[in-house]
Structures are given as structure tokens and as C-alpha cells.
């Protein structure tokens, strides 16, 4: 039985790198039994978009002291540290 989670994917423009990361994470988490409902936005708009979100995954710096757990990673763009990043995301979503 898979669990359902809402994840906000952020990047500078909200249309480029967050799109790549969103697709990669949604696919990978499906294989790990987590069904993600993804949303996307600009990093600067995160605060107004995080209602109901379980996690924020961003490729760029986020505002400080957000009330939702967040992970900033380039792993899904550079390919470096992808497995570790997925482990961190899974752990955050199962917490």
C-alpha cells in the first residue's frame, strides 16, 4: 500500500530545473511506494505555496525558517549523489 505525499519543487524560475527534479523524484518515489502529488514554484514564492505540503525540494537557496521540511540538492541535475538524495527524500516523507 503506497502512501500519498505532497511535495513542492522549487527553482529560480519555477519551470526549468524544478521540472527535471519533479519528474525524477516522482518516478523514483513511486518505486519506493510513495505516491507524490507534485507542485512547482519559484524559490522566492515558496512561502506562499507551501500550504498542505509535506516537503520542499529545491535546486536553489530557500527562504530561511520555513515551517515545512526542505532539501536543497543539485543531485538530479548533476547526477552526483542521486541515491543519497533519494534516501533523504524518502526518509523525510516517511518521518
Amino acid at each position: 500500500m503506497s502512501i500519498k505525499k505532497r511535495v513542492l519543487f522549487a527553482c529560480g524560475t519555477g519551470i526549468a530545473t524544478s521540472t527535471v527534479v519533479s519528474h525524477a523524484v516522482v518516478e523514483a518515489m513511486k518505486e519506493r511506494g510513495i505516491d507524490i502529488d507534485p507542485r512547482q514554484c519559484k524559490a522566492t514564492e515558496v512561502r506562499s505555496e507551501l500550504g498542505g505540503m509535506d516537503l520542499i525540494v529545491s535546486t536553489t537557496q530557500l527562504p530561511s525558517e520555513l515551517p515545512v521540511p526542505s532539501i536543497v540538492t543539485l543531485a538530479f541535475l548533476t547526477g552526483m549523489g542521486k541515491a543519497e538524495a533519494l534516501d533523504k527524500i524518502e526518509a523525510a516523507l516517511r518521518a
Binding site: G14, Q40, Q61, L74
Partner: protein, 153 residues
Amino acid sequence: MTQRLFTQIDPGAIVLGVEAGDRETVIRLLADRLLSGGYVKDSFADAVIAREAAMPTGLPLGRAVNVAVPHTDPEHVLKPGIALATLATPVAFANMEDPDEAVEVGLVFLMALNDKDRQIEMLQQIMATIQDEAAVMGLMQAASLDDVAAILK
């Protein structure tokens, strides 16, 4: 049917072995090519440069050559396109993840994007190219469009 990345890059927007003093010079050079090709508005170059200063796009790859993927908001874009430059001498971009950290970049993909759902394949292909060390090294050594075409599958 997946289109090859090469077919989505305007040949007029591929510049090899560029000597540029800084990232702004590279961005303006590539933005001019996209402007000539009808991909972007006049405002695109300035918008990319402003955005690069606030939200940089340098990607450290932990290898000899790092990559940057400058881009900006859809309002400056007329139709999706990519421009590509290889640099004879690397120039400093800031790290996407940490704007205070410089990344020496040798390969630049300037992206004109206006629809995230329709451009996901193109974005994924660019990232797959970046993640392929042999492809990046091949592009850096490319001397002609044929060389580039052979690498960008």
C-alpha cells in the same frame, strides 16, 4: 517519439571555442543568436543576466568541465530553443545551490523556455548530456557542427 537534442538546437546558436572574458559576455553572445533566430524578445538577454545574478545556474560536476544553464522567465521567450557555447577558457558562474561559491564553467546551455510540460524532454536531455562525462568532454573538443551532432543524440 523523442526528438534528438541536436535537432532542437538551432545550428546558428551553437558557438564553439568561444573566448569570453566573463559570463555576461557569453550570455549576450548566445542570447543574440536566439534573438536572431526569433526565439526570444529583446528583453531576454538582460533578463537572463539579472536572473543569473540573483539566482545563478552554475552546476559543479566535480570534473574538469562544469556547466551552466542560464535561463529566465517565459515572458521573455517567443518559442522554445537552446543555444550552446563551449568556452576556450572557463568563466566563473555562481553555484545554483550556493550563490557565494564560484563555479568555473566551460560549457553553457542558454535555454529559452516557456512551457514546463512541453519542454520536459528537452530539459531531461540537456541534464542527461551534462551527466555524461564523455559527452561533455566530446562537446568541449568539438570543432564542427558535425562533431556536435555526433555527440548530442
